[in-house]
Symmetry: D2
């Protein structure tokens, strides 16, 4: 941490800052410029409040040097994290496709979709049993009945299940049915939930909050990793900006930035990041071209009758078309689509 | 809801949309413009997915007409909601000031602050026992011990207590100790938590998410109100924008917009909305000038030693100065500061 | 335009609005819902101020129906606009690559770069003679001397020149030297400049303002098109958001949205949209995968000595590597890189 | 400037950076932390490109220390800038009110408004002769005829005139008619125009771009100040965010931040910053409470018939009511409204 003093900070003020740096167990290193003094605080500043210094007389600004995340960083672990989800390996050069409806609406809808996306080339199945809805008057999900349907879909198709948890209680239940716990965008900074997901030792897919910086997404991962639960997938799903032509703005930069900063697998959700089925395929292609390790995509047999997110869901035949386009892009960047080879990592 | 068709939508496509509108229990009203057809869906569209229509062939855009919140709206209830917090009435022309440290750090820190803010003119006491922290390595709060300290501070000073809850379990515990459950910005769309807060029948203070629209804040209130828990306070606390000179951007427009749209009391948190103690007083004055019903402000006896948010906390003497300035502004807009008169509403 | 009245609007208020709609030369169409009345204004509302209605008593909101741009829209012209820049055709299935330094710094730097990017596969040359700089103390460009150097580079390499204009005076000068007038992001809503660029009848490349919506970008194009200057290229170059990990946020959604909304060629500038050379190639690939018609990329023989934008410039060898990757992506989406075939459109 | 090296930067890489720092005329100061090396570049870094260092091998990040603006800063000039506009003094403890229509539409409209706002308490008159309009099909202003009308209004009422310039040509013309050249939000980074405004030696009012940071606003002022034209007024007019309930988001924090950072007068435009007449008065009060030195407000005798911005214009009687409320707020913060006392500064 660097503590930048005001141009007119007094010697006493500088000394007080130095003293506090030392009280925090760090070494202070003074650097006197022409205009102002800069104090470097050397040592592990992670548990220290930079705010403690901000308030001190004579202090202008604080510049953090150490990244606040550690376990999630490439500096901590150089090689990519690779893990196995019931036969599907994520984190290698083979792209993983997760598909399915926004919500589990009924047994027939879910089973039909599961078979359809599998046939089209999906590797894992998504579907929400608990739905975070802006309105208390909207469909809130089938709950445990939905989980049972998902479990049946897994049994029938052999695909691992990704489903959202919204509270600590749900974590306990969902681990019995699903392969990956999804932390939704609105709960990305629900720290109680992140702790519970970490403790579960179940794979976790964390969606970037629509207001969260890339660094905050990595800090959310750090919460899970700090419980020694290392099977974490990061998912860009669009951020909120001033642009209203699409529901969200896909931050495509986040793909190479994350691949650079962390060893964890990175995927994109083009359904939410665009909010419009017409743009899903183009943005899915972009994600793979930019280096993403996979995609999570909303598919519904009859989007016009979906209980949620119909406008951004693909019909199975469009999804099949997307898969063939993604295959071509994957090859263009020297990768391929995951094939159920007998790869068992971990 | 209005369904705006593409300029080249076919008659069949228009008929399909009309049919679906009617299946949803609404009446369809066709309006043929020079360029395109617009279909009005008349009736209560709240439980209907606008997305269902967005996907239909020939549909260009959907324009919602009815606001998605109902119980929170001025149309539903014209008069201001007024309620009593252990002798302090909020929602009248008398401004209410809530003050205290970011976190409960120790018994002595909390009791000292409680007396100091009371003497300076605060009406209620804030302090966090459970802290949402970006980093798992930061101080996470004292938990139930913190709640006990808060309860003691209330007993000693007679001030009602506002404190944050981060999970359903905490709701059960906190209602025993505190007067107001605070839903933090990061949990504003944690719907499981909003349901639990609603069910508790305890007063609830909802902070606007840093990337939540005003409408979404009102929808969060609707979650609580839908449990017939009507004692809800809304709090603007700054939104996230491109500007980095301050931690957040105070959306001062939100004050008159909310006072217009809803009957609920509206307050501002200038400590978080600026993130810098130097700007807190100016922005606090602005809030009252713009029509806010109260303020919630971080005060710490020794900000430079605070375990969190030291940089945005006021010393008690500065807070006392703020109170006197707020009094002057309140009078300039024909209001006053709440005085512990024997007002018992509800 | 739809005029949505308040739920409690009086009959008199509705009648006044109807009257004004008719005074504006449009027909009024009343639609009485259960809660409120909606008035459709039928006819060409482009020259009409929606604000005129917003102020009228009883009016709640205005919903525009007609897009404000016309000549730029796909509805106006279904086929893609294709045009020729000194032998290079843009707007077909063949991708066009524009490359070169941020600023023209010297004859040797420019000529060296021109040969290098041509050899690597670029089709056109960029380079700034007039530089918009945040600081008055930064290098402001070589001016006309820079234009002369650019003209020489064109003569030597045969590549058309793209260069920025910042004022009406410069337009008059630059048309003598360059093939494409670039309107920079900061001038996207400099309407005096847009008018001058339109009047010049020279091809124009408009960069999206970092604060501009997609619709506003199309309106900027409309300014140029309204002078019957139809050779306009649109360029996404990143927008400003809360994210600070990259200089700007590449709005990759804008590519399919623009390709859908307009017939004009759409390109991406990954140098500015990321601000960091490390991410340029990944995001360039994403743009082509998403459907862009070309790229404009900063290349400098010695980025560490560039007078501007060194941090986001590629060395020629990295640019050559980018070209080969873009070729692979182009083929994966059924396109190719432009080859100097004898295509003469217009 | 601080140059933060990667944790694994080699000694050679560090030496290269040190060498370049020295080549740039600065001194290098090494600080070796536990994890990484930080190189301080001591000296005036304003003309140096931080990008030059960003690209160098081994460099992680650059942290600017010196603010990029100088003449605009409080460090350069401690006392407030105060100047006289034809009898009206701005920059003292007396609040200045500028009012008038968005556009000059006709002689009668302008003269009527001028008398009305003067009677209500305005000190200066605003009105646009050249209008930046999103659409080429909208009313673009009366041009020089509008300037003549403004000059007549000044003669009749004695109020100084504030009007917008959009191009260098207009600057030459407008200085003959008006007292203050307004640089609009869309032109805040039109550097050619800023240079021309600086050279004119005429007072300049710079509106913050809707996506410009506070620092960029100060850099725009620096452009004007660098021509030794010191009569500059800064105007917050709302920024663009994700919130759509109001046209823009008033960044009220900008008021105390600017008053702290610069000696220049700071005013607010609540008409644009809210975009809705209903919220103008509340936000105007907030600005004065937060420390603004003045307001610029749109007033129209018949907003429903305004050719632009009708929805955010006040009727004269509402403006009169606003003035009386502003007077009360000014007194509450120890200030007053400017009274035409014989104050002659400069």
């Amino acid at each position: 941490m660097l503590i930048i003093m005001h141009a007119d900070a007094s010697e006493d003020q500088i000394n007080s800052v130095v003293k506090r740096v030392e009280e925090c167990g760090m070494k202070a290193h003074l650097s006197q410029g022409e205009e102002r003094c800069i104090i470097g605080a050397i040592g592990d500043g992670r548990p220290v409040q930079k705010d403690q210094f901000l308030y001190m007389p004579g202090v202008d600004r604080i510049v953090p040097i150490t990244r606040p995340y550690k376990l999630a960083s490439r500096e901590f672990q150089k090689e990519d994290t690779v893990f196995n989800l019931d036969g599907v390996t994520i984190g290698t050069s083979s792209i993983v496709l997760i598909a399915g409806p926004c919500s589990v609406e009924s047994r027939s809808q879910m089973i039909e979709t599961a078979y359809a996306v599998k046939e089209a080339g999906a590797h894992a199945l998504r579907g929400g049993a608990y739905k975070p809805r802006t309105s208390p008057y909207s469909f809130q999900g089938l709950g445990e009945e939905g989980l049972e349907i998902l479990a049946e879909a897994r049994e029938l198709t052999g695909m691992p299940i990704v489903t959202e948890v919204m509270s600590i209680e749900q974590v306990k239940l969902v681990v019995k049915y699903a392969d990956v716990l999804q932390i939704g965008a609105r709960n990305m900074q629900n720290y109680a939930l992140l702790h519970a997901a970490g403790e579960s030792q179940h794979p976790v897919l964390i969606k970037r909050g629509m207001m969260a910086t890339i660094e905050e997404l990595l800090m959310a991962a750090e919460y899970v990793l700090s419980h020694d639960n290392r099977r974490v997938i990061l998912c860009e799903r669009g951020i909120r900006t001033f642009e209203t032509a699409t529901r969200n703005t896909t931050d495509i930069n986040a793909i190479p930035v994350l691949k650079n900063a962390t060893h964890l697998p990175v995927i994109l959700d083009p359904s939410h990041s665009t909010g419009n089925w017409e743009y899903v395929t183009a943005v899915a292609r972009a994600a793979i071209a930019a280096g993403a390790d996979g995609l999570i995509i909303e598919v519904h047999p009859n989007p016009a009758e979906a209980k949620s997110d119909g406008g951004q869901s693909l019909k199975p035949e469009r999804f099949a078309e997307l898969v063939s386009q993604i295959r071509a892009i994957a090859e263009a960047v020297g990768r391929d689509l995951f094939a159920k080879k007998a790869v068992f990592v971990k």
